[in-house]
Amino acid sequence: MANELQNLQEQVAAALGARCLKWEGGELPAVHVPPAEVYSVVRDLYDDAGLAFRFLTSLCGIHFTADATGDGEQLGLIYFLHDLPRNRRMRVKTVFPVAAAEVESITPIFASANWMEREAYDFYGIKFKNHPNLIRIFNIETMTVFPLRKDFPLEDRTRHDKNDPMFGR
């Protein structure tokens, strides 16, 4: 197992070159890449005959507060990829400032990314360049907030029955 992971790290490092910012080991390893390179990284992991990560298990957004990063608020994306012939899995991680929350859509590579990217847009407000239909998927169309961001209040502001004159809400 350790050897296989070592091999994977070496293969990925060779395929990505300078785009590989950091390698995160463990049973489900991850490679950190710059946001502008997400599309090319996923494309190379897909095309490389020795890697063949041709199945997108999942894709999700993530939000880090300024306290967590020590470097301002950041949004991120995590792609879960699967190399079916060799049964290996890995993640591709990227983070970017909230003001520049835009990455290239990977729908040309994985059609299944269409709804997943809409979900990330719906809950985190991450935009995807060249997405064919970037609209909300789970929440009502008229919603104007991105509810899974950490600054969004969890409880519904329109609820009255929990208001208590002595103890507040």
Binding site: F138, I140, M143, P147, F152, D156, R159
Partner: protein
């Protein structure tokens, strides 16, 4: 009939029971009552409910409709799965904000007279789902006649709520839709 010794008049939802009717108002094969009471009785005893079940309260409703609790006892075994044929909208379960407009259009398609029964904490107030995606009570979008509390309520509670809807049907004005109060209620929700 016991004509010589009149018993005290007993009524059920405004309808005088045949066996206890005062002399002269009933006999072999007939009884006299007001038209509104007769129609109210007919409405209550032939109500077609439309189940709008979205979560666990819907499971309790299925138990209510099954033979053990047996909704057919209340002449309600015929469910209308079209709002156009339904008299009673039974909302059972969590209604998300995205589902709100759908529920509202279902209500708008129902013909008068129509009643709404809100079953369970979620439909009545949002319940435990105090969050961005859940409608905090269906009375934000449609008028509700009877609320059934519980999370989820037992079938007995649902039956109790249904019987209260029956009481409404028997006791309300036949043309409730014309009353100022009802008009104001619909106006509050912006339903024409």
């Amino acid at each position: 009939m016991n004509a010589s010794a009149p018993t005290p008049r007993q009524t059920q939802g405004g309808v005088t029971l045949v066996s206890e009717a005062p002399p002269g108002l009933s006999g072999e094969g007939f009884f006299a009552t007001s038209l509104s009471a007769a129609i109210g009785l007919a409405r209550a005893k032939s109500m077609w409910p439309m189940p709008y079940a979205t979560s666990c309260c819907g499971i309790e409703f299925m138990a209510t409709a099954a033979p053990h609790y047996d909704l057919a006892r209340f002449a309600m075994e015929r469910f209308a799965y079209s709002p156009r044929q339904a008299d009673l909208l039974m909302v059972m379960g969590t209604i998300s904000k995205k589902l709100g407009p759908v529920l509202r259009s279902v209500y708008e398609q129902m013909a008068e007279p129509r009643w709404v029964l809100s079953v369970g904490a979620c439909a009545s107030s949002g319940g435990i789902f105090d969050t961005y995606s859940v409608l905090q009570g269906i009375d934000r979008i449609i008028p509700v006649d009877v609320y059934v509390p519980g999370c989820p309520p037992r079938p007995e509670q649902i039956i109790d709520g249904l019987l209260r809807v029956h009481e409404l049907a028997m006791s309300e004005s036949l043309r409730r839709r014309d009353t100022a109060e009802y008009q104001a209620r619909l106006g509050y929700y912006g339903i024409a």
